[in-house]
Symmetry: C2
Subunit: 407 residues, 2 copies
């Protein structure tokens, strides 16, 4: 098989991952291939044992068309999704389904050696427990700005000790396979695009409201990383009325006044200043946080309610600017801060629709994540599977021999 | 020829338009096609008389490879680029070169009947003067928000009388050919992408500073129009400190405080308020405008200079937000306001680099248009040529018979 005859198998596999099972006609449409090219590519994928074709059951009684699908259990990739305080690892098969998963609390601030060693332990355990062979490839997502070319993070604000550590190569070497590194919000956007709330939308913004605030931009059906990989950094857009210093070095960033860390600090400040008796009673001496703020607001504390509303208002205004500029059909909200109650969400919605340009806001949908914590794992697996079967990569493994999992 | 065997001729033609002449190997790379598919498509394009292949002269003395190019004079498209006060029409051949062009002053506020009739007159004159046959297709760009599906503008602020007028169909019917309608800033971005300052950049923003302020977003190598076609509407992002009402109905829009119309009004206000004697002397009773503001500033009037600097400062700050969110490698400035002197440009540059996130600003290039007034004409022609050879359209004309120009 000439390597150029493999061009396009990536788009066939991507279509099959999304849809599960497709007829040849549907595949031709989804992949944009002519019939002869498609049939030849399907032959290759069948030879490799990745794809199978079966006659479909026909409800109309007419000729039964063949439908292709990815064979289950024929290979897998290993992925790790790092958060600020925890890690999820998973084995995902070539059809995009999670084979098995492990989770653990893990402070990312412990640094690369301890955190990555724990990832290796969890992945090894998972591989052995499921009797899995070598993986076809690996991926890891991290809560920091990623330099794709070098496979490392650059000056990550919430990952002390990780700056320029060779994450991708370190992990790939441990498992003897190709590894990809990506930013957590970007891969969550990809997860929602393929399996979650983003299905059917070519243009959407996924916003993660957590310790910090970040977003992934899907435009024209493609995750847009920008020129240096930092597109979507919505948490450091300025809010109008709050010249608060941000950990990034600037002043007035959204994240510094409305992110989870900012609201934790705001809660503690209210207690220390004696501004909310309810909050002081609720926390009774321990450090107050955003969850206490929400609880106090729900119990009728107007000071705490106002803090949450103002945060929602500011997030909504910044989202409105992004919506006016990008004209997405959808904004998906995710992240831990979203789970803390409705006061903030309500003011966010109001502010978003109030501030966005009428034409951009008219048919805009605001919704919540459908995948929650699994968005990152599914998304990084999609990134790895896309890359594994991309023209550039397929050529390299084809000449060296098939991936480890195929040998 | 089966229509599915035409898939991909669009990407071959696009590559040839950009490069002029490419070997088969270069074409395979640029189009992402395998060898057999490419050769078959080249056969079709030769049969149609669109492409020719010639042996190249080899400087190394080795085997001379064949190189393909688009045959000159084998067909053309007609385009019209409408501005607020003038129109440019052109015939552009299938290789993207302008065959001939006509320009005229024309107030867009005269409304669709008078303006489009003048476009028809100019295009007919140009067609006859050059002995051109029927065109393959047409395109028109306008300074307003375009509804692509319906081929009309929707609530355009500077095009009174045009709201929902069927521009595309009216013009296409006159010439008996397919017609496409697009927004002026979007097509300028495409022009710069293919033939101007945007070449070699996958992610850039083209900003037009004229009567209003608008932008076209190229991300991942593709012009991004957003879900409803209004992506890039940067002129209606808010500035921090200026609650000025905007013609769009909102308050504090960039365009309302730093666009050409706003600066014309600012100049007139300075005269009426007696705030600048120099400006009053320069204009001597006639209405003052932004050009007078610039001249007065150049003559040392600090009040006028401050107005220009503040406008530049505000444009730069809003551009910085777009840069932080999108992480382009390039911002291209165009439009009439750019030609009025350096004071505004200098403060814009300073403000842009000062406000953008360090990672996004680090390798950002700020530059001026390379194409100037021809960007729109070249860009709308590219849009038409892309559409003419897109899989969807090629199928329709293939079955009805070749385009008018081929009969």
């Amino acid at each position: 098989v000439e390597n150029q005859r493999l061009d396009g198998v990536g788009s066939i596999l991507r279509a099959l991952r999304g849809a599960g099972r497709l007829t040849r006609q549907e595949l031709a449409q989804a992949s944009g291939m002519g019939r002869s090219q498609l049939l030849q590519r399907l032959d290759v994928l069948r030879e490799l044992g990745i794809v199978e074709e079966r006659l479909t059951s026909s409800s109309t009684g007419g000729r039964r068309p063949r439908a292709a699908s990815i064979r289950p259990g024929q290979g897998h990739v290993l992925v790790a999704a790092l958060g600020v305080t925890g890690v999820t690892v998973a084995a995902v098969d070539l059809s995009g389904r999670v084979v098995d998963t492990r989770q653990n609390s893990l402070e990312i601030a412990l640094g690369p050696d301890r955190v990555l060693t724990e990832c290796v332990r969890l992945l090894t355990d998972l591989t052995q427990a499921n009797g899995l062979g070598p993986s076809w490839g690996m991926g890891i997502s991290v809560p920091g700005p990623v330099d794709h070319q070098r496979g490392m993070v650059v000056s990550p604000p919430v990952m002390p000790g990780w700056d320029q550590f060779p994450i991708r190569d370190w992990l790939g070497d441990r498992f003897g396979t190709a590894c990809w590194l990506d930013n957590d919000v970007n891969v969550m956007a990809v997860g929602e695009q393929r399996y979650g709330a983003g299905r059917g939308h070519d243009d959407f913004i996924f916003v993660k409201l957590g310790h910090g605030i970040g977003s992934g931009l899907v435009m024209g059906g493609v995750l847009q990383r920008g020129s240096r990989g930092c597109a979507g950094d919505i948490g450091h857009l300025p809010v109008m009325d709050a010249p608060v210093p941000c950990r990034c070095g600037n002043v007035g960033c959204l994240e510094a006044v409305a992110g989870g860390m900012a609201l934790d600090a705001a809660a503690e400040r209210l207690v220390l200043e004696g501004a909310s008796r309810r909050l002081a009673e609720l926390t009774a001496g321990r450090t107050a946080g955003v969850k206490d703020l929400v609880r106090a607001a729900e119990l009728g504390d107007t000071t705490c309610l106002a803090v949450l509303q103002q945060a929602g208002d500011r997030i909504g205004a910044v989202l409105a600017h992004a919506v006016s500029l990008l004209n997405p059909s959808l904004v998906i909200l995710g992240g831990g801060l979203l789970a803390v109650g409705d006061a903030m969400f309500t003011s966010m919605r109001k502010s978003l629709y109030g501030h966005a340009l009428p034409l951009a806001a008219r048919e805009l949908v605001l919704t919540r994540t459908e995948l929650g914590n699994t968005a990152a794992v599914l998304g990084i697996a999609e990134v790895v599977l896309d890359e594994l079967f991309s023209p550039a990569h397929i050529e390299s493994w084809w000449h060296r021999g098939a991936p480890a999992g195929l040998r």
